[in-house]
Symmetry: C2
Subunit: 125 residues, 2 copies
């Protein structure tokens, strides 16, 4: 049985909050074992906790904020638009993907794919 | 080789325009042979031109307008938010999905999945 829409929405909101202020471990805890991450879509697919931890460690300790846009949930899957703004010194980097997530019956993420293009969906200010 | 970002964007824009004012044949022409359509996600997957034509015939002759929101294109795939407003008599029905499309190297759609929930992402006014 698919996770409920409410549970999935909760996980998406936790994810967006943790990407801004959480640790890599906290984010990885939202994922199922052997989950996959493809970010951005078209690049190598990461699989499993170690690889996912490594991916999110890049965000740890950065000054970051996130905001969630349109979210759609159907059939135990979610797609959602969000913005991640990281600040390094006086520069702000904004990435604005649409993510696709698949969930297991307990609401853990089994697959995440982030749709964005570094040449058009990222800006510096 | 994946279709170019420009080609994919063009097909997405054609799709959104044709959903409002095109015929089922014109829309089906954007699809590859043996393409699949899952709309909304979680319902039965349609496969092939006849089934896709049948799906879009439901829109033919309706008074409809569409608007395209955020579009993200990566790795030969696209996700995009849009609104479809159909008017029947004095009632307007708004559906606001996020669609995911996969394209072949010629830019034809090989798979479309529409993420929306009839209980939350559709409104009547």
């Amino acid at each position: 049985m698919a996770a409920s829409t409410e549970k999935i929405r909760e996980v998406v909101e936790s994810y967006i909050a943790l990407v801004a202020t959480g640790t890599a471990v906290e984010i990885a805890d939202l994922y199922a074992e052997d989950a996959t991450v493809e970010d951005p879509v078209g690049t190598e697919v990461r699989r499993g906790r170690e690889s996912i931890l490594e991916f999110y460690r890049g965000l740890e300790g950065m000054e970051a904020r996130t905001s969630l846009g349109v979210v759609r949930i159907a059939g135990g899957e979610a797609v959602f638009h969000f913005e991640l703004v990281t600040t390094v010194g006086e520069q702000s980097y904004t990435v604005a993907p649409i993510d696709h997530m698949v969930f297991d019956e307990d609401g853990r993420i089994t697959a995440m794919r982030a749709f964005w293009d570094p040449t058009t969906d990222m800006s510096v200010s």
